[in-house]
Amino acid sequence: MTLNLLLTQVLNGVQFGILLFLMAAGLTLVFGIMSFINLAHGSLYMLGAYFAAVAYGWTGSFWLAMAAAFFGLFALGALADALGLSILHRRDHLDQVLATFGIVLFCNELVRVVWGNAPLFMDAPPLLADSIEVLGLNYPAYRFAIIGAGLVVALGLYLLIERTRIGMLIRAGASNRSMVSALGVNIGWINRFVFALGAALAGLAGAMVGPILSIQPGMGEPILILTLVVIVIGGIGSIRGAFLGALVVGVVDTLGRVLMPSLLNQLFSPSVANAAGPAMASIGVYLLMIIVLAFKPDGLFPVRQR
């Protein structure tokens, strides 16, 4: 394999990682700060994609579709929290897993009833529809845009959490809930904001993959599993951990898919390599997770204790 191709594949890995980060940021905030395991995060991603596709269908504008997904899911997240999810915050993790898994099934069925079984259509904006030549290979412009958008979101989140008053309250609420409410801060509202923000980021991720992926019922589950791996590897509750963990998972997954078959091809006959390669590649990420858990149970980049 040439160096150019390898670099392109690293770029692919980074782009996939950025996408995972958008999902993981919301999940890790909700999990780390509210101690709430939300398996329905993948459903929020799916709903984001559907909101975007519907807005795209009505207006034909890609940018309005993005806004619809982000603000639509922010509102939906806040509403869901107000309507009952907040009750789950005080329950133990098993209850949360069961209840949110139920929401996953409900959302998949709801989407099927409302929009039907067939996948929906959404296209990239004309500005980003083509490919750019990088290192002798064509690379989709839209994927560069995803990388850019992800970096902007990462920076924005960092500033929000570390440099603003609300970020300070979020961090304080994560360390000591009762002390924060004793100081006269409505911790319920803080939690609601965090949950809605997480939902909005998942919705944005769903909307951004609209032009790349098929928008269909159940599209959230494959990415949810990888997102859980990301936050476990990165360290639960840490935005920095989610960012770096997502990049690690994205690059390992992509390179594993590319390198494993060609590596096996040199060791075994093509039929064996073709059979074993994809299977081995798909376990790479989970192998990484096991190793990380064995040596650093808090993840690679745990939240610093202050």
Partner: protein, 389 residues
């Protein structure tokens, strides 16, 4: 003696009630994948079947038809339960539908144990075409390999020299690669198996680009096909070299792809631009009723309903004489929307296979346009292994 009389009375009662049911209506069990990510296929099968039934005035062979519908959820065990229910509770005369081959393989046993008449409107797995063939089973669509075989023949005709093959890493994916290679003997410069239901193909597309093939053949059914084609378009890889495909661009995925898929080639037994009376009538009625261009899955089920109708017409709407119904089904004496078709010894069709290109139709909608017919009167590769005559 007393007991025997009782038994006799009960038996007579059963026979009489059985007869009255047979005279009053024909009972059909329809099972397909109607939920989950692949539900669009099963839904099209159901819509196609019901459209034909509606055009026949709700009757099959002149007898009132009662349809029992079950969802197999793409789970073989759920499918088996549905078939058992049809046989034991609903007392159906014939079972039709079935979307996926893994479900089909699980259904073969309960169907053959009950000696049930069966008409598949999609699944056509190799084992049932070969050694495990069954005289009561009829496959109104195509044997699974056929769509790959016609693309292989097309690649041979175009004398491509560097072909790159891609499919998901599971049984059907491997069968579709093998089917392609059965008719394409030229050099293959790369063979890539991806994870089943993988959403992102950026890594594989970069490898593909570096390999610089002069044609690509892929098998990516459902959502995987939507993902793959969209990503190929954005990478600027469509139009550079022909993209040959099976089950990737069809009536269920084109609405999600639209112009993105223009120029992609696909192998199939029928396309919505077919110029015969049955096909035109079907496409017009389907578009009118469901507001979308029918997929091949709808077409197959439409044909299945008409096939069943033709057979029951011959037996006067009765299903009591199984051998007669079976012979009538085997004759395939109906006007198929694909044109000519007949059944081979294994109950699989012998038919022409065509190559289609994704293009805009006269109404400006993205659809499939017939390009050529590389394989005429194609019979599947497994028929010789079937002991039936």
């Amino acid at each position: 003696m007393k007991l025997n009389v009782k038994k006799l009375v009960v038996m007579m009662g059963l026979t009489v009630s059985g007869l009255t049911v047979a005279h009053a209506e024909v009972r059909i069990g329809f099972v397909a994948t109607l939920s989950g990510p692949a539900a669009a296929l099963g839904q099209d099968q159901y819509d196609g079947f019901m459209l034909a039934l509606e055009q026949l005035g709700g009757k099959l062979g002149g007898t009132e038809a009662k349809i029992f519908k079950e969802d197999d959820q793409l789970k073989p065990d759920v499918g088996v339960l549905a078939v058992r229910k049809f046989i034991e509770k609903d007392k159906v005369d014939l079972i039709t539908g079935v979307t996926f081959s893994n479900v089909m393989m699980a259904l073969a046993k309960p169907l053959s144990d009950a000696e049930m008449l069966f008409v598949s409107s999609n699944a056509g797995p190799a084992p049932l075409a070969g050694k495990q063939c069954n005289a009561n089973f009829f496959f109104a669509a195509w044997q699974n390999d056929n769509q790959a075989e016609v693309m292989g023949q097309y690649a041979t005709e175009k004398s491509f020299k560097k072909v790159y093959l891609m499919a998901p890493n599971y049984q059907s994916g491997k069968d579709q690669i093998a089917g392609f290679k059965r008719y394409y003997k030229g050099p293959v410069i790369g063979e890539c198996y991806t994870q089943l239901n993988q959403p992102d193909y950026s890594a594989e597309i970069a490898q593909l680009q570096a390999a610089a093939p002069d044609a690509i053949y892929v098998f990516y059914p459902g959502g995987m096909g939507v993902n793959f084609v969209k990503q190929m378009r954005q990478a600027g890889m469509l139009g550079k070299q022909p993209l040959l495909s099976a089950s990737t661009v069809d009536g269920t995925t084109l609405p999600a792809l639209k112009e993105t898929a223009l120029g992609v080639l696909a192998g199939s037994f029928w396309g919505p631009d077919f110029d015969n009376a049955t096909s035109r009538k079907f496409v017009d009625a389907f578009q009118q009723k469901y507001k979308r261009i029918p997929s091949q899955y709808a077409a197959q089920a439409y044909d299945s309903a008409n096939l069943i109708d033709s057979a029951l017409r011959k037996t006067g709407g009765k299903t009591t004489d199984k051998a007669a119904v079976r012979a009538a089904l085997r004759a395939a004496d109906f006007s198929s929307l694909r044109g000519k078709m007949k059944f081979g010894n294994n109950g699989f069709p012998i038919q022409d296979m065509h190559v289609f290109e994704v293009a805009k139709n006269t109404a400006g909608d993205v659809s499939l346009k017939t390009l050529s017919t590389p394989l005429k009167g194609l019979q599947d590769a497994y028929a010789t292994e079937c002991p039936l005559k």
